[in-house]
């Protein structure tokens, strides 16, 4: 068997990628699979974005104008699910596929066939989930956190499809993570010791462990739901002796690490881009690694800060308040290190750098509101209001999403062999920057003023903020369509890029020609300190 694979391998080594559709269906190449992941996540990003615009259109003015409440709830739910599981997570996996083999000096991922499977599960999972919107009774309408019993006893009939889709996404994530861990631990070039690994590789190694730890928990939660719905169990049904609050504990035991799954790789990306454009080595590499590890550890002991209002004993509230506040320390270390990297560097501000700096500033603002939310007695006032909506959108949009966009611009020349159009890139940045702030900044105010989240209509005092927010959302949405245009235009007619496409870019991937060869390193590269440590 292994000989057969070996022979195959030599085959496509000689001939390059297969032609046509087959290339994409049967590919085991990390770059092709990375490309598939990235385009898939972009497609999901647009779908999720359209749902968000439906929400913002309805909330433009008080009163019900465009959609009914039951449809509105499907929009908020699917917007959240699609953005989290369909856009952000697959985009990071796509980046991991493209970059990790190149950055550790390997020819490909360790488990290429599983790699193919973990991608090709996703279109089916999301096809199934999105199809529920067209079923009788509608799709999931219980929020992306799907609290029982709203998601069990009171759910629309399509919930079973939703459960199955979540299982598939989980399987895909677990396979992807196993692959990433196997690649990082086994396929590093000689001399690439753990403490010389690029930050993106480090953050993904830790993220992959988080995923393997928590995706089964999510699978457990939805399986219990399935049993409650179809087999008369009462895990979450109080009338049968179950406990709806247990659902939340299980969900957030998955869900809190999940939010770090969506931000740790972003930390990695920014830790590459800032040194490159500051032309200065990353400040405090070792502390950066330890900070990521501490954040990952802490992420397992803070989950109930999502549940301060659920009714816990005082001691429990205090424990989760303190542990949550602690996360600010390693997060602060990262922000300080990035700023120290910029300090006395020799900076230029190409598009990836602009997105990275915006990331540092706006993510930190999301961190501040996070710290405020950690303070239990005031969290009672913020909880489930638009203040929370503003908070998590600040860490996820100018946080996770901006880092992904920055990564796309940064590594675009390496992937395609072409430079993107810098002017268009900058226009895209400024549109996105303005759009994101106009959308989400006013939501802090509507939240403080008392507007609950997930409502299709609102009292009159919230009208001004919502109108501004909606305008911002449409600016932001259109600027992402513009992003698509920039990318396609650059793929078609960009200027040829050099191997080291940026003056200050360091790392093994930049020692390869652009575009990178189909099999990255067929012979292990020599790992030089000045290259990998920047």
């Amino acid at each position: 068997m292994s000989e057969v694979i070996h022979a195959d391998h030599h085959d496509d080594h000689d001939h390059g990628p297969a032609k046509g559709l087959k290339r994409w269906l049967f590919t085991t190449n990390h770059k092709d699979i990375g490309t598939l992941y990235l385009w898939f996540s972009f497609a999901m990003f647009l779908v999720g974005g359209v749902l968000a615009l439906v929400i913002r259109a309805e909330l433009f003015q008080p009163g019900l104008q465009f959609v009914q409440p039951e449809f509105f709830n499907q929009m908020t739910t699917n917007h959240g699910l699609i953005m989290v599981f369909g856009a952000i997570m697959p985009a990071f996996v796509g980046l991991a596929n493209w970059l990790i083999p190149m950055q550790v000096g390997a020819p490909d991922m360790a488990l290429p066939r599983m790699n193919n499977l973990s991608f090709w599960i996703l279109p089916f999972a999301f096809g199934m989930m999105i199809s529920t919107l067209f079923m009788e009774g509608g799709g999931p309408n219980f929020g992306w956190t799907f609290y029982a019993p709203l998601s069990t006893t009171y759910a629309p009939p399509s919930v079973t499809y939703f459960i199955f889709a979540v299982h598939l996404m989980g399987a895909s994530s677990i396979m992807g993570s196993i692959n990433i861990i196997a690649t990082i631990l086994n396929m590093r070039a000689p001399g690439m010791t753990l403490m010389k690994m690029p930050m993106f590789v480090w953050t993904w190694l830790i993220t992959a462990y988080l995923l393997i730890a928590v995706m089964p928990v999510l699978a457990g939660a939805v399986t219990m739901m399935l049993f409650d719905i179809h087999f008369n169990t009462s895990f979450f049904n109080a009338a049968g002796g179950g406990d709806p609050v247990m659902f939340q504990h299980i969900f957030w035991f998955f869900g809190h690490p999940e939010v770090y799954i969506m931000i740790l790789p972003a930390f990695g990306i920014v830790s590459h881009i800032i040194p490159a454009f500051a032309r200065k080595r990353l400040f405090g590499y070792t502390s950066m690694v330890y900070a990521v590890a501490s954040i990952a550890f802490l992420s397992f002991i803070v989950w109930a800060h999502h549940m301060f209002t659920v009714g816990m004993p005082l001691a429990g509230q205090l424990f989760f308040m303190y542990s949550t506040m602690l996360i600010a320390v390693p997060t602060g270390v990262k922000v300080f290190n990035w700023i120290s990297t910029m300090w006395r560097g020799s900076m230029t501000f190409e598009t990836p750098m602009l997105f990275a700096i915006a990331f540092v500033v706006l993510f930190t603002m999301g961190g501040f509101s996070g710290l405020m939310l950690a303070i239990t007695p005031v969290d009672y006032q913020y909880h489930d209001t638009y203040f929370v909506v503003a908070h998590f959108h600040y860490v996820l949009v100018p946080g996770a999403l901006f880092s992904i966009i920055a990564a796309v611009y940064f590594w675009f020349p390496k992937w395609t062999g072409k430079m993107y159009d810098e002017t268009l890139g900058k226009i895209h940045f400024w549109l996105s920057f303005v759009g994101v702030n106009v959308t989400f900044f006013p939501q802090h105010f509507s939240g403080l003023a008392g507007m609950p989240r997930r409502i299709p209509d609102y009292p009159l005092q919230f009208a001004d903020f919502n109108m501004i927010s909606s305008v911002g959302a449409f600016i932001f949405g259109l600027s992402q369509v513009f992003f698509l245009y920039v990318i396609i235009k650059s793929i078609r007619s960009g200027q040829p890029a050099e191997g080291r496409s940026w003056e200050g870019a360091k790392g093994l991937e930049w020692t390869l020609p652009s575009p990178a060869p189909y099999h990255s390193f067929t012979h292990p590269p020599v790992v030089k300190d000045e290259e990998v440590l920047g």
Binding site: P62, G63, L64, P69, E70, N73, G137, G138, N141, Y147, L150, T153, Y154, P157, A239, D243, P244, A278, K280, R281, F283, G284, T309, G311, L314, M321, V329, G332, V335, I339, M342, W343, R344, S346, M347, T348, F349, V360, V361, F368, L371, M372, I375, T376, P377, Y380, Q381, H383, D384, F445, L448, A449, G450, P452, R453, R454, D457, Y458, P459, L460
Partner: protein
């Protein structure tokens, strides 16, 4: 060089100016900030909120100040050569320890306020708050937790306002048919729970919020000094009409409250006496329409069409046109494991009879029989 110095000054001035503007702006405009509220707890919460917020602003000014300073000055276009430092144990220690100290400074008042909030017990009266899809029920309890008075509180904003067919009133979406009333200066304990899904009961001006979870009793308390009407909303997604189940609490001077309470209890008793009396078709239809509008229309819709298949239509329904006993039984006992509640525990026999009569004779249903309160009483007594 002069130019750079000038730019630096300009930059710092703008930064400071903007911060001051932002802060005064925030302090001046109420609607941009958390409310101070009307209870001791809500004021403590507000102060805590301001402390944490100002600390965050201060940290932000320093951190972003350094960042933007660097962005302005350490540019390649200025001919700056990159420095080569990349590590400093002292700095790393400093920015681990200093934030930890700041966090401890924040945690102390936070712990104090939280402990104050958990000071339950010693209450003067207790009220059970029960969330339903999409209304609240309030039960006044005596010392032995017997129910002495109870009623539902349902949003009273007309559909026409929601659907933009008429002008929206001042308290759009924040008005109910019956306020929860409590006296001033008495410690009121709320026992919070839910009948179907999870809801959350929040009165921002009191600084209190708690989830209403089926099968669980949560505790909250408040003491309000100022009479007034205070409004809030359900804050846990609870289905279709989550946005339409407001909370309105009317705080009354103690004497006024006591008078209201005893008159309410005696009115209730008087109604019990005549509850079984037979009604005419017209009376049944009139009362039925109003009960239907308040209690049934959120799911089955005002025109009886429902939201198929989740909420079945009443128009043309086999049950609403079938035997009276089965129809009554379904409405009184609900359908276990579905959103159809057991209305026998929410409505009195006259209301139940009239809504069932109405369903059988409206929306094109034309059964033509009479449903009387006595039918309901018979079924409830197991006959």
């Amino acid at each position: 060089m002069r130019e750079i110095e000038q730019m630096k000054h300009q930059f710092m001035r703008t930064l400071v100016g903007m911060t001051v503007l932002l802060l005064t702006g925030l302090a001046a405009a109420d609607e941009l900030n958390l409310r101070v509220g009307v209870t001791d707890i809500s004021r403590q919460v507000y102060d805590l909120h301001m402390i944490i917020f100002l600390i965050c602003v201060a940290i932000g000014v320093v951190v972003f100040g350094v960042l933007f300073w660097s962005v302005f000055n350490h540019r390649k276009s200025r001919g700056v050569e990159p420095a080569t430092f990349h590590d400093s144990t002292k700095l790393e220690l400093a920015w681990t320890i200093v934030p930890t100290i700041i966090l401890i400074v924040m945690a102390i008042p936070a712990t104090q306020v939280l402990i104050a909030m958990y000071d339950t017990g010693g209450e003067d009266m207790s009220i059970e708050v029960r969330g339903y899809q999409w209304k609240w029920q309030y039960k006044y309890l005596d010392d032995d937790y017997n129910n002495t008075l109870s009623f539902f509180s349902v949003m009273s904003t007309p559909r026409e306002e929601i659907y933009n067919q008429s002008l929206k009133g001042e308290n759009y979406l924040l008005q109910v048919d019956e306020h929860l009333r409590i006296p001033t200066n008495r410690k009121v304990r709320f026992l919070i729970t839910a009948e179907d899904v999870i809801h959350a009961w929040w009165v921002p001006d009191f600084g209190i919020k708690r989830d209403a979870v089926p099968g669980m009793l949560n505790e909250l308390w408040t003491i309000v000094e100022e009479p007034g009407i205070y409004r809030g909303q359900c804050t846990e997604l609870c289905g279709k009409d989550h946005g339409f189940m407001p909370i309105v609490v009317e705080v009354m001077p103690e004497a006024e409250f006591d008078a209201w309470y005893s008159s309410k209890v005696s009115l209730d008793m008087a109604r019990q006496e005549t509850i079984g009396d037979a009604l005419t078709h017209e009376e049944l239809m009139a009362q039925g329409e109003s009960v239907y509008g308040t209690y049934c229309a959120s799911c089955h819709l005002a025109n009886g069409e429902g939201v198929v298949p989740v909420f079945p239509a009443i128009a043309g329904s086999a049950i609403a046109q079938g035997p009276k006993g089965e129809h009554l039984d379904l409405v009184i006992n609900g359908v276990a494991g579905s959103a159809m509640q057991a209305f026998g525990r929410q409505l009195d026999p006259a209301q139940l009879a009239s809504v069932v009569h109405y369903q059988r004779n409206a929306f094109g249903n034309d059964v033509g029989d009479m449903t009387q309160p006595q039918d309901v009483i018979n079924i409830s007594n197991g006959q």
